[in-house]
Amino acid sequence: MLEFDDIQYILLTRAPAITGRYEFLSFRNAAGGRAWLAAILETVHSVQQARASIEKDNRWVSVAFTWNGLQALGLGEASLASFPEEFKQGMVARAEILGDTGANRPDKWVGRLASAELHALVILFARDTAERQRCESEHHRLVMKCEGVEVLSSLDLVATPPFEYAHDHFGYRDRLSELAIEGSGDEPRPGFGGSVKAGEFILGYPDEEGSIPPLPRPEVLSRNGSYMAYRRLQEHVGAFRDFLRQHGETPEQQEFVAAKLMGRWRSGAPLVLAPHKDDPELGADMQRTNNFNYKEMDPHGYAVPLGAHIRRMNPRDTAANMNRRRMIRRGAPYGPHLPEGTPEDGKERGIAAFVICASLVRQFEFAQNVWINDKNFHELGNERDPIIGNQDGTLEYKIPMRPIRKKITGLPAFTTMRGGAYFFLPGLKALRYIVSLGTAR
C-alpha cells in the first residue's frame, strides 16, 4: 500500500494548472532555512490532500533539496554520506556523462543553477496568472522573514497557445507517456506493458527486481521520497522552422520532416500507427496513441526512424528491462509563444522539466548517456537524439525510406541546456524531520 498521506503530490498527481513558477533558493543559515521550510511545509500537498480537493484548489506546491541543501539545513554527516554518489556529486559534476558539453556546458547555465549554493527548489503550479502572482508575493514575504534565505533565480511557466492540450514551443503534443504506478490507482494504458512497481519511483517500496535497494538513512528521511533531475531546455523555434522549410517544400512535407524527427506527428499520432498521414484523433486518444511496438511493427524504422526521439526515449520491446528505465516527467513550457510566420525574436523559450525516478544513475543518467547521446545507439554510427541530444552541427540523421533512405547531414541543435540540478524530493514526514534537525534532543 502506498502512503498517499506522505508522498508529495507531484509524484502521482498532475495539477490542472496553466501556469506556474519555480524558485531556486540558497540557505546562508541553517536555522533560517529550517524556519522557511517549517512555514512552506504547510502549503505542500500530499497525494491524498491533492486528490481530495483538486477541483477547488488553486495552487499546488512541491519542495525539494540538493545534496548541498540538505547539508546547509544541518543534516548529519552519516546521513549525508548515505545518499547515492551521483546525487552527492550533483548535475554539474556529471555534465560529461549527461552530454552537457559544448554549448550546453554548466559554465554557460543561467539562474545560478550551476552554483554549489543552490540548495532548494519550490515548484508552484497555479490555476491562473492571478493566483501565481498572489503566491509569488506571499512567498516573497516569507523569504524576507527568514534569515539567510536568498532566492537565486526564478522561472515563470506559461502554457503556449493553442491551449486545448499540452504541447511544447515546436508544436509537439506533450504528456503522451504517462505511465501507471502499481498501487497508485491509475490504470495502465495500452502499450505500456502494464503498471510499474512503485519502488522504481518512490523510495522504500519494492522495485522491478522485487526488492528494496539500500536507501539513504535515516529511514524517516528517505521513505516516500524520490529524486528529480531538473532540465531547463531552450527551444530554438526559429532554427527549427527554418530547418523544416529547408527540408520540405510544402507544408505537408514540412510536417512529415517534423514527424520523422519525433516519431510522432505534431498532433501526437505515432508514425507506427499513422505512417503516411496525420491522424489528430489518434494522437489525442490515450487508449490508442501508445499501443504499438517496434520489433514486429517497425523493425527497420520505415515508420519511426531508428534514431527518432520517441524511439530513443522509449525503445519499447527493443530494449532490455524497459521497466528498470522508466521515468516520470513533470514540467511546463516557459517563455513567450512565437507565432507561426514570425521570425525568431531571440527571446528565450523552452521547456522546464523534471524527471522523477528512484535512481538517477540507473534511470535518468542512463537515458541521457545511452539513449539520447550515444552516437552509436541502434548502430546508427553518427547520430544523437535529434530534439534533445547534444548536437554541434557535425552529426547526421537518417530516415529509412524505400528504395533508399534520406540522410540529413549537419543536423543543427534545436535545443540548448540552460541549467539544471539534482534534487531530492522528500515525503512530508521527512520534511518535518528536516525542520526538527535544529531542536535539541
Binding site: I97, E209, A320, R324, F366, D374
Partner: protein
C-alpha cells in the same frame, strides 16, 4: 570520441598500443560508473581475473554445462551484452586457483551495466562469480558493488588487434545474412 572516421576501415587490420593503466590520459571519457576504457580495433572488452574460494573448483565445471544448456535453450539470452566472444579460464598461481573471464563486445561495459547485472541473475551466469573471493554478497540489489568488483578485478589490455577492426557483431551478422540472401537469389535465378 573520435571513432567515426575509423568505422569504415574494416578492411585494414589494425593494432593499438594502450598506455599503462588502460587509458589514453588525454581523452578519457567519463561513464556513469567511472572512466570508460577505450574502444580498440578489437572493440570493447574486459578481462576479469580473480581468486577462487578454495574447494569451489567443481562448481566451475558444473557452471559451464549450465551455461551451455541455457544458451542452447534460449539462444538470445545474452543478446543484451552485445557480445562477440566470451572465454573462461582456470589457472594456478603458486598453488592457488584463479579464474579469468574475458569478453569482447560492442558497447562499453558502463553503458548497459545494469542490464548485465540482470542477465547475470536471470541466466545463472552469477553462480560462478559467487565462488570468487571478494564478490559482493548483495550484488543483486547493489549494482554499484557489482561494478566495483568488476572494475577492481579487470586487467586492462596494453595491446589489442583486430583483423577486421571496429566491426560490430551486428554488422557481421547483417553481412552474413545479406550474403546468404544473395546466394539464395542467385540459386533461384538458375
Amino acid at each position: 570520441m573520435s571513432d567515426a572516421p575509423k568505422q569504415n576501415d574494416w578492411s585494414k587490420p589494425a593494432a593499438m598500443a594502450i598506455p599503462e593503466g588502460g587509458y589514453f590520459k588525454d581523452k578519457i571519457e567519463q561513464g556513469r560508473y567511472g572512466p570508460i576504457f577505450p574502444k580498440t580495433p578489437a572493440c570493447y572488452g574486459f578481462s576479469i581475473i580473480a581468486k577462487i574460494i578454495p574447494g569451489r573448483e567443481p562448481n566451475f565445471y558444473e557452471y559451464a554445462r549450465n551455461i551451455e544448456k541455457a544458451v542452447a535453450g534460449q539462444p538470445d539470452c545474452l543478446a543484451v551484452l552485445k557480445l562477440h566472444y566470451l572465454r573462461w579460464n582456470l589457472f594456478k598461481i603458486k598453488g592457488d586457483n584463479y579464474f579469468q573471464y574475458m569478453g569482447i563486445f560492442d558497447t562499453d561495459f558502463d553503458k548497459y551495466t545494469e542490464d548485465a547485472v540482470a542477465i547475470f541473475a536471470a541466466t545463472g551466469l552469477n553462480t560462478v562469480f559467487e565462488n570468487l573471493e571478494g564478490f559482493p554478497k548483495d550484488w543483486k540489489t547493489n549494482a554499484q558493488a557489482f561494478i566495483k568488483f568488476v572494475r577492481d578485478h579487470h586487467c586492462p589490455s596494453f595491446l589489442e588487434y583486430g583483423e577486421y577492426p571496429y566491426v560490430s557483431a551486428e554488422e557481421i551478422k547483417k553481412a552474413l545474412k545479406l550474403k546468404a540472401a544473395f546466394s539464395d537469389m542467385l540459386d533461384q535465378m538458375q
